[in-house]
């Protein structure tokens, strides 16, 4: 997507953007409409087509979690089967004489959404195998409850022969089991084989596809992708990562529950296997085979595997082996799934669905108008201050009893030999790690217990020792993400709008790019930048959060002399507007730009003073020279 078109003023015609959405919908609708007739010559049948359409919805939901939030759930059967059972129970218990399909499906979807929020609240803080196993554990508990509640669920036998629920639309009560009129289509079967169910399921799938597309391309999807790409960075530009993952988990669970409810209603039965462990595994297979983190991948994967299961099984007993081999083959050879073979085009249209109707609120005054740093240099109030700050790693005290105070507007360098605790000290200030003892005050308020994310929103931003970027995004997008966090706050469920239309975000990002002189490379992928530009981009990202204190961890490390001097000048300029704390080994730079210097040694403050004072401090010399005085050295 071209970044210039993103930041250009609103010039694109609305017609063009609606046309793109309409084109997408039309394309999907066409595919869904043709699907049963393409399946027919291959040996498929109409029931299978309907089931594929329904289960695809669950796979799309699963993929939102795996592909876009990066969490592998091994328990999605709890939502799928759970949705099915809830729908069936609603069907049997609420007005059984006149069952209402809407009630069953919507009720089941809402109930699984609630379940997903509850389960997600305890699982989203875990990663990898731990997340997979904990979701599996919850699924097994749901399985147990359903199996044991025999009065409601009929235990191991599942619920069979459910009555047919009608779909009331306006004055009509539609019976979805009605066949379409018989029209012979030659090799493509007969239209009359299909029931109205297929149209209903197809419409649901169409709706979910459009919803998924909107989600992925929305501001919410953008932030979710950023968190997946670099959680550390996302947290330290001010996004509440667990909240985003929880939201993704809830949406994913609700979609899966919706699919399970539809499937139960269509089949007229729910087997206990619908909540079983193999069911959870099937969503993994469908999605991975089709293509993780692609829009149509889960649908394609569901279709291919369900087709194999139902058609190939009649031909050869080896069908499940073939399925397994496909699965392994895809993981080893096509990590992005079958859909990469089809050369799926990325949607080039940068505009979302409801962009115009939902402009950003104007509550937030133009952030650019606020002065960055408040207070005068040497004023009575420090901007950041620590008392007896300490951090233990096991028995090792990385930072001990550090009393530290910086005045607003100061440029303070923190130096010290390797292992002196400098980076740990910065991590304590930025909130990446919690102190073992002592307190941190920021503008007179204690912030020791606040998360890094909260501190970013108070105005403390950090650039990392090893640049922490979004390597797959352009420089401009990197900065926009940080600006977006500043403008929208820790969490916003902005699923309808795209961030590309937020002028204040653009302004903040452009300003940060300009200040770090990255304009020439603004549209380059961050991963392709030179080392020096990466380091500067990291600072620009921190700057785009509009900090009042900027923490820079070795900003010129690894740079050539020229780059280092250029970056030094940029930092000097930044320091006229905000407080800057910098860890650096480049002594030329430290001595040249600092107002004052703090020397850390073995986790404690050895000295604080002006560059000249530090240069002549014998204790500092000793720390650097290893326990011998200058005089001793000179006389060998």
């Amino acid at each position: 997507m071209s970044a210039t078109s993103e930041t250009a003023p609103v010039a694109h015609s609305r017609g063009g953007l609606l046309a793109a959405d309409a084109r997408f919908a039309l394309l999907c609708a066409l595919g869904i409409a043709l699907f049963p007739f393409l399946l027919h010559p291959l040996g498929g049948y109409s029931t299978l087509a309907t089931q594929i359409a329904i289960v695809s919805i669950a796979s799309i939901g699963f993929n939102l979690l795996l592909g876009y939030a990066g969490s592998l759930s091994y328990g999605h059967a709890m939502f799928y089967g759970g949705g099915g059972y809830i729908a069936a129970i609603l069907l049997l218990r609420v007005n059984p004489q006149h069952p209402n399909l809407w009630l069953c499906i919507i009720g089941a979807t809402l109930a699984t959404a609630v379940l997903a929020v509850l389960v997600g609240a305890v699982t989203v803080r875990l990663y990898g195998i731990y997340f997979a196993l904990l979701t599996l554990a919850f699924a097994q508990m749901v399985f147990f409850i359903i199996e044991q509640a025999k009065d409601w669920t009929n235990g191991d036998d599942g619920l069979q022969s459910l009555p047919n629920a009608l779909l009331p639309i306006g004055p009509w009560n539609i019976d979805l089991t009605t066949h379409l009129p018989s029209v012979n289509l030659g090799p493509f079967g007969n239209l009359g084989e299909l029931r109205l169910w297929y149209i209903f399921a197809g419409l649901c799938l169409l709706l979910v596809l459009m919803l998924a597309r909107m989600l992925i391309r929305s501001q919410f999807g953008e932030v979710l992708g950023a968190i997946r790409e670099n959680e550390q960075r996302s947290t330290l530009i001010g996004f509440n990562a667990p909240a985003y993952r929880l939201a993704a988990f809830a949406i994913s669970g609700a979609l899966t529950g919706f699919s399970g409810a539809l499937r139960g209603m269509f089949d007229g039965s729910i087997p206990i296997d619908a909540v079983g462990i193999d069911r959870s595994g099937s969503f993994v297979i469908y999605t991975v085979v089709g293509g993780v983190a692609t829009l149509f991948g889960p649908v394609a994967g569901t279709a291919v595997i369900m087709f194999l299961e139902n058609v190939l099984s009649a031909v050869t007993p080896a069908w499940r082996l073939i399925e397994g081999l496909i699965f392994v083959g895809v993981i080893v050879f096509l990590p992005r799934g079958l859909s990469t073979v089809l050369k799926q085009q990325r949607d080039k249209n940068p505009r979302g669905l409801f962009v115009r109707s939902l402009r950003p609120s104007t509550e937030e005054p133009d952030p650019l108008l606020k002065p960055a740093a408040e207070g005068q240099r040497g004023g009575p109030m420090s901007i950041i201050e620590t008392f007896k700050l300490g951090k233990l790693f096991g028995h090792f005290a990385a930072v001990r009893d550090v009393d530290f105070r910086v005045d607003p507007g100061e440029l303070r360098a923190v130096i010290g030999p390797n292992g002196a605790g400098k980076t740990t000290f910065f991590n304590l200030l930025s909130g990446t790690i919690a102190p073992s003892s002592g307190t941190i005050n920021y503008k007179g308020r204690e912030v020791s217990r606040l998360s890094g994310t909260s501190r970013v929103h108070l105005g403390i931003a950090k650039a990392f020792q090893t640049a922490s970027l979004y390597p797959d995004q352009t420089v401009r997008q990197n900065c926009r993400l940080a600006a977006l966090a500043r403008v929208q706050g820790r969490f916003a469920l902005q699923v309808f709008r795209r961030s590309t239309r937020l002028d204040d975000v653009d302004a903040l990002a452009e300003r940060a790019i300009g200040r770090l002189e990255l304009l020439d490379v603004a549209d380059v992928r961050a991963g392709d930048l030179s080392h020096g530009d990466k380091k500067r981009l990291d600072i620009a990202i921190a700057l785009a959060t509009q900090p009042q204190i900027l923490l820079l961890d070795e900003p010129v490390a690894g740079m050539s002399k020229d780059e280092a001097r250029k970056t030094e000048a940029l930092i000097r300029k930044l320091s006229t507007e905000m407080t800057v704390l910098v860890i650096e080994h480049d002594m030329e730079m430290v001595m040249g730009i600092s107002d004052s210097i703090t020397v850390l040694h073995q986790g404690t403050v050895l000295a604080t003073g002006t560059p000249a004072e530090i240069r002549d401090n014998p204790r500092v010399q000793e720390a650097y020279l290893g326990g011998h005085s200058e005089a001793e050295l000179a006389h060998g």
Binding site: I415, V620, Q621, Y624, L625, G626, G627, H628, E632, L633
Partner: protein, 244 residues
């Protein structure tokens, strides 16, 4: 290199690093670094934090692979070999963080060095004689001993193997002054045992006291090659590249 080569290659060159360029990702850390160490020589590589000293050592042992240049041990090219192979040829790095196996006892740490050695070096008795403190700590776990003991143990591990070149990365770093003296004595012992050593130091005094020759590195480039006496007397040189 700005400074002229002063020390003639009196003995046979054991290790030669020839115009290597090493990167961390995109970061160009070593720029045309060249140095050489004769058999039995003790050479110091000096410089401030973050100027490329450790990177030089990592390049020699195969931990990092230089993009260009050559590193030879007794004439045999090392670039492209893996860490294990280079270690088995007798290039032994005592890393900055010591990297003691904290889940193993002191005795097990020593034993491991013996079993992974291609050829044995010092005997355990010899090691205990030189490092009597280790003998008292044999049953302690690696995370239950002091920083100085860790450094002794790390050096002892290297000496238990047949070392052709010993690379010591900041052996005195982070140690209390008294312990620093002890480690310095150990390095003198190593020197007097005739082991070829490349010593990386920020601690000028320690390094200058034992080195036959020294190099100064800054911003990834070798800026000076000469004798310890030259460094001692050249105040400007020290101010430019070595002091705070």
């Amino acid at each position: 290199m700005n400074a002229p080569t002063t020390a003639p290659a009196a003995t046979q060159t054991r290790l030669r690093v020839d115009t290597i360029n090493t990167y961390y990702g995109d970061s160009h850390v070593l720029r045309d670094v060249s140095l050489h160490i004769g058999a039995g020589e003790t050479v110091a590589l000096l410089g401030r934090n973050g100027v490329g000293k450790t990177t030089t050592l990592k390049s020699i042992v195969g931990w990092l692979k230089p993009r260009t240049g050559s590193i030879t041990l007794d004439g045999e090219e090392l670039i492209g070999r893996d860490m294990m192979t280079i270690a088995r040829k007798g290039v032994s790095l005592v890393p900055e963080e010591r990297r003691i196996f904290t889940n193993l006892t002191v005795a097990e740490n020593l034993k491991l060095a013996q079993v992974t050695a291609r050829k044995p070096g010092w005997t355990l008795d010899h090691v205990y004689e030189k490092f009597p403190r280790l003998r008292e700590r044999l049953t302690h776990k690696g995370d239950e001993i002091s920083g100085g003991e860790k450094q002794m143990l790390a050096i002892a591990r290297a000496l238990l193997q047949d070392v052709k070149v010993l690379l010591l990365d900041e052996p005195t770093e982070g140690l209390a002054p008294l312990i620093v003296r002890e480690v310095e004595n150990v390095i003198r012992e190593i020197k007097s045992a005739g082991i070829t050593t490349l010593l990386v130091e920020q601690n000028l005094y320690s390094a200058l006291a034992v080195a036959d020759r020294c190099y100064i590195i800054d911003q990834g480039e070798i800026k000076f090659e000469g004798t310890p006496a030259q460094v001692r007397t050249d105040e400007d040189l020290r101010r430019r590249y070595l002091h705070v």
